[in-house]
Structures are given as structure tokens and as C-alpha cells.
Symmetry: C2
Subunit: 331 residues, 2 copies
DNA sequence: TTGTAAGCGTTATCAC
DNA sequence: GTGATAACGCTTACAA
């Protein structure tokens, strides 16, 4: 075991194997030609010395970097974690490294983080959503790397977009409630300035209501990230303001769960007295005493698909992976 | 807007500013001395050209890399996402980049990922837990970078460990149930081979029971990752086998939530007929109709603390951030 | 205060 | 099939 600071270099391996540096490089990358005998000699030296190739040097010498940057708004929301899982699993197969950052839903921070990751010359940058600052766009354009925008397709993508239409999801949700005969419908949501996708869902939702001659009976928008407690408090407020509401659309399943818990706590019969519908179809909401109605989104699939498109060097395009309304027992 | 492929280089900035390359380098890193006038000239050129320094080249030229590798078992568990948040937030301040990978609880995969990530010569590698393959240890030792092991301190750390004692947490949980007067206690857990920390908790739990002259009335171990549905199914099995059980310890809050939902569904009074206690004190479990008793773990704090120790180049040490038993209404 | 030049550890382009 | 050697784009002495 060597406790020396300096890691082994290609040159040392070449020396130990009694071959040239380029030969070692060829063998290690299995590229170009070399005899089986040299290969064995090189590998023996590699094993003996415990050589780990320096990709920093490799990246600088070759043209591209096997690095993919992934910038997400948050990690406390399982949705982004799922997307990230899909991405990293697909990248791992091709030996690409994920470089990663969290914006906390702040566009300016996103811009700064994009600049930071661009310094690593990634072959691609993955972002969530289609809304970015002009600065971010400019940086990305100048960098000339692939850009993948995930989870949303309602807008103008920079390069590749993989996701689904939140506006359609909102419409589908409204259509479902309308079909079920609910007419006095309210909305309980979280901070929409930061989460533009939830705003798009609400837009579609209201559009569909209007089309059916209905309007939103009440709306409660919490000035906070989505959470169970925000959903709980939000529903309580709506019910005290508009006691006649018969269905509530929550901005997502965390919020819906809070609403559902509120109903359980104070004994409001669901869905007879009040229907509840959320968004994302989180695992938890499939296992509550009554499964909560929601929209199933294919999050891992979105991550995986995006990574694949990148790896196969697909042309600019927008991929709609769709969504699925899952009725549950609450609406 | 230039659509040329080749990104701007330091040399081009130097030319544009009419200064030498090293001057640009000094100005950009705010290191060494230069006049205010040159600084202005350089910055003007940087802005004009939209120069983004190439950290790959920078890292190769200087000794260290401002890269920190973070390898977690999973992302679907919010616990690791929380730790990751803490780490990235702390790193961002110091302009360090996180490079990241997911093991899916597979030690061999962890080893492969450590090798992959070491190729980027990170200044540190962060891992979850203290159990790693001999190969992983060897790689890490040879690399000579800092190693931070998170979330567990029951064992021999390689370098720095930040976490708490799962064994103690298990004991504390048992002590709480015993104090509350429960005597017919069962355990419902998930896949322990993969999650060694849950095994340690159970060990401590049983130790404490035995010390009080009690034994585990029943134990149900699902051969699957933790989930709400596994908790639900697990509790159902336990109750059909051992109907007289009066309290159940779940391997974590996801599982406990499933158990709690089962009780709500079939009308088992909690905690009068059955007490429930989990682990992690997830936000959701604080907002169920009855808050679920659990152990609060300081996950974000663990990530943050680890990053800080790394940044201040602290010596090898073990930091116990502790945990807190939160009673709730279910136990 | 500033510029020149020698690396950093690879890959890639040549000859041989 | 193999080995010099020139990049790659920066940082960092060392000179000026």
C-alpha cells in the first residue's frame, strides 16, 4: 500500500510495463491496435500499481467531456429525485458522470449555477422546466452544449424537451371532476411564482372549468413551498370561507395529502361531502385508507428518456411522455 | 452572438485585453497583484467575449480539484435527498462542485462508482454508512483524498464520520415504549441486508427490550425496500400471526405510515389498541391525523456539517449530531 | 505590476 | 503494432 500523495500516472504505468505511453492509453481505452501480449503486460502493471486514469487530463486532451450537468429546483420534492434517478441510471451505463446542483426554485441562482457547471465543459446541461432567465439562455447558447429541459413541454424549448403538458394535465383534472358531477370547485396551491408548472396546471384547470360553464369557487394560494401542512391549512381556510365547496384541486399530492388528513381529522366524509384530487400520484397517496385521486406522471421515465436522447445524439425535439389520470377513491 | 463551436480561451481574453495570460488568470481568481486599471480592462474583455473559465484545465494545472463526490444509496428515500441538500448548499458557498452517483444499496456498485468518481480526482468522497467493501476501502486509501462517511457512527470510520448512533436510536425507541407500558412489542422492517443501519437500530431495540426483561413478540421483515405498502402489508401479517401485540416498531417512517394507514383502514384504535413508532420524523408523519411517534434525525445538518468539516480541513474525527425522540400521539 | 515559459496527465497525430 | 511529440487551457514560479 503506498501512502504517497502523488497518484500514479500513465507514464509510470508505461514504465512499469515497458511500453510507451500511447500504448497504455490505447489499451486502457480499448481503442486502436495492440497485441494481446502488450495488453496483458499493461493490465498487469495497472493492477499492480492500482492506477486510476485521470479523467481531468483525459478530458482536457480529448475534445469532449463525459460530464452531464443536472440542475434541479429542489430535492425535498420527490419528483425531482425521481427524475434524477432516471437520468443517473441511464448515464451510468455509458460511464458518464453527473455533475449536479440545486436552484431552490430561484431563476437567478439557476443562472449562476449554469455558469458554474459550464466551467466544467459538460457535454450537456439538463434543466427543469422551460422558463429561464435571458442570461441563462445566453450562457447555454454560447456554450454550444446540448440542453435538455425536463418535465414541461408547454413553451419554447432551447434544444430537447422531455416531459408533458401541465396545461393539459390541469384540463384533464377539471374534466374528471366535471364528469363526476362536482360543480362547486376550489383550488389549494403553493407558491406559483417559483413553480411555474403548477401555475400552468391551474390555468388549464380553469380553462376547462370555464368551458363547462363553471368558475373556480375559491382559491387559496399558500405563499410557501408545497407541503402536507400547507395543504392542510389551505383546505381549512377554503372551507371556512366557502363551506359549500364540493371538490378541491390541490397543486400536488403533498398538498392533497394535507387536505385529506384534514378531512380525516375533523371528520369530513370524502368524497361524499368533499372530493379531493392532487397531482403526481405519489406512492404514499396510493396507500392512504382511500387512495387519493391524482395524475400519474412518469418521472423516472422522463429522466431516462432524456439521458437516452442525449446519448444517441438525437436532434432537437420535444418528447411528450404523457400522463395518466388515476381516479382513486377521493374523487 | 457567436455560434462557433470553440469556446473562448484565456489566451483570447488576454489578447482582447492587451495583457498577458497570467494577468488575466490573476484578475479572475483575484489572486496576486494587478492594477485597478488592468482589472477593468480584463473584466471588460471577459464580459465582451462571454468568457467562461475552463475548470478542467484549471484543475489540471493546479494541484487540487474543487470537486466533491457524493455517493448515496438511493434518492427515493427523502433521507438521502436531505443529506444531499445540506451538502450542496454548503459547497455552493465555496464554489465547489458536487459530482454524484447512486448505489441502489449495492456495495459492489458502490465500489465501481467510487472508482469512477476517483478518476475525477475529487478532493473528497462522501459515502453513506460505515460498511464498504474491502475494494472500496483500498481505492479510497490509495487515492489519498478525504473521506466523509455520513449518517452512521456505529463502527470504524475511514476518516471523518458525521451522523449518530443507530443502535442508540433503537435503544431509545424501546425505552420509550417500555416506559409507556407496552410489553407485547413487534417489529416490522424492510430489507436489512441492504440497509445495515436499520439492522443496527433493531439490534439496539432488542438489546433494550431484553434488558427490561422483554423479548420481541414477533418480527416481520419484508424482502423489499422500505415503502408505505410494505409497512401496511407487514403490519397486517404481524397482527394475523400475533393478535395480542400492543406496539409495533417500524424500521422507518415510510413503513410506519403504512402501518398507521392500515389501522385507520380497518379501524384499529391507535394507540389504545396498538401503538406505532417509526424512525426519521418525516414531515408527513408530523401531519397525519395523529402525529406518528418517531425519532427525529438531523439529516440536512449532517450534510452541512460534513461539508463544513471538509472545507475547514478538519482532522479525522467522528461527529455525533444526535437524534431526538418525538412522542407524537401514536405511542 | 506584469509577462514568459514550464508544467499538469492525458489524447491524438504522426512517423516508424 | 508501437513510440515520440505536439496539443489541450489553464496555473504558477520566475524574471523583468
Amino acid at each position: 500500500m503506498d501512502l504517497k500523495n502523488a497518484p500514479i500516472t500513465l507514464a509510470e504505468v508505461a514504465d512499469a510495463a515497458g511500453v510507451g505511453e500511447s500504448t497504455v492509453s490505447r489499451v486502457l481505452r480499448n481503442h486502436g491496435s495492440f497485441s494481446e501480449k502488450t495488453r496483458a503486460r499493461v493490465m498487469a502493471a495497472v493492477d499492480k500499481l492500482g492506477y486510476v486514469p485521470n479523467k481531468i487530463a483525459g478530458a482536457l486532451a480529448s475534445t469532449g467531456t463525459p460530464l452531464v450537468a443536472i440542475i434541479v429546483p429542489s430535492l425535498s420534492n420527490i419528483v425531482f429525485a425521481d427524475v434524477l434517478s432516471g437520468v443517473t441510471r441511464a448515464l451510468e451505463v455509458r460511464q458518464k458522470q453527473a455533475v449536479f446542483a440545486v436552484t431552490e426554485y430561484d431563476p437567478m441562482r439557476e443562472e449562476a449555477l449554469v455558469a458554474a457547471v459550464l466551467a466544467w465543459r459538460p457535454e450537456a446541461v439538463m434543466l427543469v422546466g422551460l422558463e429561464h432567465t435571458e442570461g441563462t439562455r445566453k450562457l447555454l447558447r454560447a456554450a454550444g452544449c446540448r440542453v435538455l429541459e425536463l418535465l414541461d413541454i408547454d413553451g419554447e424549448p432551447i434544444d430537447i424537451a422531455v416531459g408533458f403538458s401541465h396545461r393539459s394535465a390541469g384540463r384533464a383534472t377539471a374534466a374528471h371532476l366535471i364528469e363526476k358531477g362536482y360543480t362547486r370547485i376550489a383550488y389549494v396551491g403553493h407558491d406559483m411564482e417559483r413553480d411555474t408548472r403548477s401555475a400552468k396546471r391551474l390555468e388549464g384547470f380553469v380553462e376547462q372549468l370555464n368551458q363547462a360553464g363553471l368558475t373556480l369557487r375559491d382559491r387559496e394560494i399558500r405563499n410557501a413551498p408545497s407541503s402536507v401542512s400547507a395543504g392542510k391549512a389551505g383546505l381549512a381556510n377554503v372551507l371556512s370561507r366557502s363551506p359549500d365547496v364540493d371538490a378541491v384541486y390541490f397543486s400536488n399530492d403533498d398538498m392533497a395529502l394535507g387536505g385529506y388528513f384534514h378531512c380525516l381529522s375533523v371528520g369530513i366524509p370524502v368524497p361524499d361531502r368533499l372530493a379531493i384530487i392532487g397531482f403526481n400520484a405519489l406512492d404514499i397517496c396510493r396507500h392512504t385508507p382511500q387512495p387519493i385521486a391524482s395524475i400519474l406522471t412518469r418521472r423516472v421515465e422522463i429522466g431516462r428518456r432524456a439521458a437516452e436522447l442525449l446519448l444517441e445524439d438525437a436532434p432537437a425535439q420535444t418528447v411528450d411522455v404523457g400522463f395518466l389520470l388515476v381516479p382513486g377513491e377521493t374523487a
